[in-house]
């Protein structure tokens, strides 16, 4: 297996920086999904980047970079949520304050804004593993890739997405 471990130090660092830049969105979306406060989000994004760097020598460039990044980012984020046990109890609180922080002053689409609030609140209520599934579904990752990231079968992914849809209908 050809991995990044065979690169020289500088090449490896540059290749990592380029990959991180190209897929930074994955890090921020995962951090945003699992951390409620801006400060926590920043910590989590840094923690994910640190673990990506640590896992980088074993990365096989022949395989999908996004799958690899999702796996590392989600594993770090799920562990992060579990470490924050006290805050986790408050995660069920809607993310109104953060939404205000992030709100675009030019946004006039109230329905979309409402949907966004509902989405944030729904995400916050989900257990960590379901959040991972929801995030990957919303990112429109193929079921095969979701299965590969989570370590479950494709049919299981399909079943779980069906249940997730039902839960949304029941709760919203």
């Amino acid at each position: 297996m050809q991995t990044t471990a065979t690169m020289t130090g500088d090449d490896r660092q540059q290749a990592f920086a380029a990959l991180l830049l190209r897929h930074a969105g994955i890090v921020f979306k995962v951090a945003n999904t699992y951390a409620r406060l801006a400060e926590d989000r920043a910590d989590l994004a840094q923690e994910i980047a640190a673990q990506l760097w640590r896992a980088w020598p074993k990365y096989d460039p022949a395989r999908s970079a996004s799958t690899w990044m999702y796996r590392v980012a989600l594993n770090v984020a799920i562990s992060h949520v579990r470490e924050q046990s006290v805050r986790q109890r408050h995660d069920a609180v809607p993310l109104d304050d953060d939404l205000h922080d992030m709100a675009d002053s030019s946004a006039t689409d109230h329905e979309n804004e409402n949907h966004l609030r509902l989405l944030q609140a729904f995400i916050a209520r989900q257990p960590p593993l379901d959040r991972a599934l929801l995030l990957l579904y919303l990112e429109e990752r193929p079921q095969r890739e979701i299965a590969e990231i989570l370590g479950i079968t494709e049919s299981n992914v399909s079943t779980k997405i069906g249940r997730l849809k039902q839960r949304i209908r029941d709760e919203l």
Binding site: Q51, R54, W68, V72, M102, R117, E140, I168
Partner: protein
């Protein structure tokens, strides 16, 4: 929030998600700064206290083995000191073994593995940590007495004939304390919904472990 009567489907969420995505993208330039620097230093931040603790536990275990061996080898014909020496030796081996297992598991965590398999690995690590605290931590109620006896057993010529009363009293208190600690710990494992389990925060680590296990088992089952 709950008073909103907007009816949504999962696919409606996708439009909202795109809005969020666009907002995050606009912040990328600022956020990218977050990802620079301190990468390697931070990578093992969470692991370091655990590994340091396990190294100390292994050293303590080695000390207990040396003390235990010294005690039982010098007192093969004194049943009480022989038993204390063997107990110290055994606890020393347990301390080293658990430290080795926890360290091995923690170091072999590969965050690039599939989510479910790495979470199962973490569940195993948490279970072993709980077991470690019950097997190597709680018995220190008694172990400190055995350590005193062990040191005394290294020079048996200076020992008094009969076992001092304070040792019997300390052993009795220690055994009661160990049993009470185990009971307290078991009470915590009844789960977060148990009213008794919410009485203190001392068992929070155990409750957190249970949440991990519950969540993982539910996700696999559904």
């Amino acid at each position: 929030m709950t008073t909103m009567d907007t009816h949504m489907e999962l696919d409606d969420f996708k439009a909202a998600w795109q809005t969020l995505d666009a907002r995050l993208a606009r912040q990328d330039a600022l956020q990218l700064e977050l990802l620079r620097g301190q990468k390697q230093a931070q990578a093992r931040r969470h692991l370091r206290p655990l590994l340091f603790g396990m190294a100390l536990q292994a050293l303590l275990g080695l000390g207990l083995v040396l003390l235990g061996v010294g005690c039982w080898r010098n007192n093969l014909d004194v049943p009480g000191l022989l038993a204390a020496g063997i107990a110290l030796h055994a606890f020393g081996v347990l301390h080293i073994a658990f430290a080795g297992i926890v360290t091995g598991l923690a170091l072999s965590l590969d965050y690039a593995a599939p989510v479910l398999s790495i979470q199962k690995r973490l569940r195993l690590l948490l279970r072993i940590q709980v077991l470690n605290s019950n097997v190597c931590g709680a018995p220190w109620w008694v172990l400190w007495v055995l350590v005193v006896i062990g040191f005394a057993g290294l020079s048996p010529a200076n020992l008094p004939g009969a076992t001092p009363t304070w040792i019997w009293i300390s052993l009795a208190i220690g055994i009661a304390g160990t049993l009470a600690t185990w009971w307290w710990s078991a009470r915590g494992t009844r789960g977060p919904r148990d009213p008794l389990a919410r009485m203190d925060d001392g068992a929070d680590g155990i409750r957190r472990t249970l949440r991990v296990i519950d969540d993982l088992e539910r996700f696999e089952r559904e």
